[in-house]
């Protein structure tokens, strides 16, 4: 259960402001793609168009196509709610539901969509927490509030919550930027494992992280402030880091700007 993503000539707007222009990229199933680039170049914006979260922001709209195994996510007949069940998302700051226990947080996606059967839910909770490498740490306090965990644990709880609805694709927007190095490592290990079952797209500010976790890297940049962001190049992570085609990519990676 993993799907391929194809983005074709995508322009993304906030009201009248064109934030990102002309993105073309493909993501293979069961691979990790990293988005890198300086702040404000539109990495999060592009990521959020991949599960139609962009339009949640007032004025947010897109032009172009995003295909998930040849199905256009922006076709008129496509229900954004269904898209989001298929393409899950983990955010920059861990955001467990404060009124719910650890188990309820993980089960939230199913319960809020009408699954009531206790046994199914318990199984999913265990499986997802195991999948997020969190089971051993929380199995004795599943009924305790999710907000009582450490930042790194909360983030893994959010990953468990996202994979509990069995998406095909998992999007992560700087999932480690609010975490300490140990928790970061735990999440990176997890991403390696998630790759076996999901297509993963991750935004990161940390170049080493992109190099460590991804198969493919996309570099985004701005021509100038106030101009829309562009996808400069996308290639195998090895190629991007050792032998990029574009000068801008090389400059960014070698730390000459950004």
């Amino acid at each position: 259960m993993a799907k391929r993503i194809d983005v074709q000539d995508l322009d993304i707007f906030y009201g009248d402001f064109k934030a990102v222009e002309g993105v073309n990229l493909s993501v293979e199933p069961r691979s990790v793609t990293a988005f890198i680039g300086p702040s404000g170049c539109g990495k999060s914006t592009v990521l959020r168009t991949l599960n139609r979260m962009h339009e949640v922001i007032p004025g947010g709209r897109v032009q172009g196509k995003v295909l998930l195994d040849d199905e256009d996510l922006y076709a008129a007949s496509m229900d954004p709610v269904v898209v989001r069940r298929t393409v899950g998302m983990v955010f920059q700051r861990p955001n467990p539901f404060p009124t719910m226990s650890i188990a309820d947080n993980v089960a939230a996606g199913l319960r809020l969509n009408g699954v009531k059967d206790k046994k199914t839910l318990n199984e999913v909770v265990e499986k997802s927490l195991k999948g997020a490498n969190l089971w051993n740490e929380v199995k004795d306090r599943l009924d305790k509030p999710g907000a009582g965990l450490s930042g790194g644990q909360q983030q893994r709880l959010c990953i468990a919550r996202a994979i509990a609805v069995q998406p095909q694709v998992l999007l992560m927007d700087e999932p480690c930027s609010a975490l300490d190095p140990i928790s970061t490592l735990a999440i990176e290990d997890l991403i390696h494992e998630l790759k076996d079952s999901f297509t993963v797209v991750i935004v990161t500010h940390n170049m080493q992280q992109a190099a460590r976790v991804s198969d493919q890297t996309a570099f985004f940049n701005l021509k100038a402030t106030g101009q829309p962001g562009h996808l400069i190049e996308i290639d195998d992570t090895k190629t991007i880091f050792n032998n990029p085609t574009e000068k801008a990519t090389e400059d960014y990676i070698s730390g000459r700007f950004g």
Binding site: N51, M53, V56, P58, V81, V82, V83, R84, R85, T86, G88, M89, F91, R93, N95, P96, F97, P98, T99, A108, G109, L112, N113, P145, A147, C158, R161, A162, V165
Partner: protein, 301 residues
């Protein structure tokens, strides 16, 4: 760093004496303002409690109404306020049943759905509504109920007028609480493929529940003490009436204003302060209830 940078001369380690003085003056002023604000509160409580508290302990106060009361000056029994307490509770509860759902739904519309002109118009109308004097709200209900439809006034008319006063209060407090819910939680829910309405009912509302309940109870306390709509729409009676759809109905505020016309009489004065004390006690209990609900809802976190 260049030496031309404008920078106040500070000797490392020494405390500026000017700042110490300003700090002391400000502290004293803030405390004084606080105490001055406390004085009227303490004074009101003191007056009402000293004059009325003992009345609440007379055996008949909670059990009896004022039936059998003789004209002022001839009556030697304080009797009871059960009729007024029951009336106040009934009318306020019915008010809440009308107002709270409307207010919460309006707030949900304004915070979660409202965009552009319509939302601004609704928000503006809530502002207008919160500025309407209670007596005007009562007149409006009178005009519709009696003048337009030719119906007979019943106690529930007062509840409808009170609801007009309660709606803006609860709408605003609920709005504030909903705005406090971080957007990240809504996004987390959407990202799980949960539809918007379910996100609101299952994530946003539970997260802000304690605040919403507290706001609603404060709105309840507010209308429980309103007087003008009752004077116009629910005439005072000395008898207990439990049916909000017929007859007259007493309430604590109207009991106070009725007894006030004979305040020179010792027994009337007892009743008046007893009713005032009961009203304050009622508001206090509701406030504490609000806090308790808030506490209980937080325990889960």
């Amino acid at each position: 760093m260049s030496s031309t940078t404008a920078r106040p001369e500070v000797t490392f380690g020494s405390k500026s004496s000017g700042r110490a003085i300003r700090n002391t003056v400000a502290t004293v002023l803030v405390w004084a303002a606080f105490l001055i604000a406390l004085i009227p509160l303490g004074w009101i409580m003191w007056t009402v409690l000293t004059k009325g508290l003992h009345v609440l302990f007379t055996g008949t106060w909670w059990q009896k109404d004022q039936s059998g009361a003789l004209p002022p000056g001839f009556d030697h029994n304080v009797r009871g306020a059960r009729h007024a307490l029951v009336g106040t509770l009934e009318m306020s509860v019915v008010t809440s049943v009308i107002a709270i759902p409307i207010a919460i739904m309006t707030a949900i519309y304004l915070v979660e759905y409202g965009r552009g002109k319509v939302a601004r118009l609704v928000s503006f109308m809530v502002d207008i509504l919160s500025g309407i004097p209670s007596i005007v709200a009562a007149l409006f209900i009178y005009a519709i109920w009696v003048t337009t439809f030719g119906l007979k006034l019943i106690p529930v008319c007062a509840s409808i007028a009170l609801a007009m006063l309660m709606i803006p209060v609860v709408t605003r407090s609920t709005e504030e609480m909903l705005k406090l819910v971080p957007n990240e939680l809504r996004e987390a829910s959407y990202a799980l493929g949960v539809p918007k309405w379910k996100t609101i009912t299952r994530v946003v509302l539970p997260t802000s529940l304690s605040g919403i309940v507290t706001g609603a109870l404060l709105g309840f306390a507010r209308v429980a003490g309103e007087t003008a709509p009752l004077i116009l729409l629910a005439a005072y009676t000395q008898y207990l009436n439990e049916n909000i759809f017929s007859g007259n109905m007493a309430a604590l505020p109207t009991m106070i204003s009725t007894e006030f016309s004979n305040i020179g009489d010792a027994v009337s004065s007892e009743r008046l302060w007893g009713a005032a004390c009961t009203l304050i006690l009622l508001v206090l209990v509701i406030n504490l209830l609000g806090r308790l609900v808030g506490r209980l809802a937080k325990v889960k976190k």
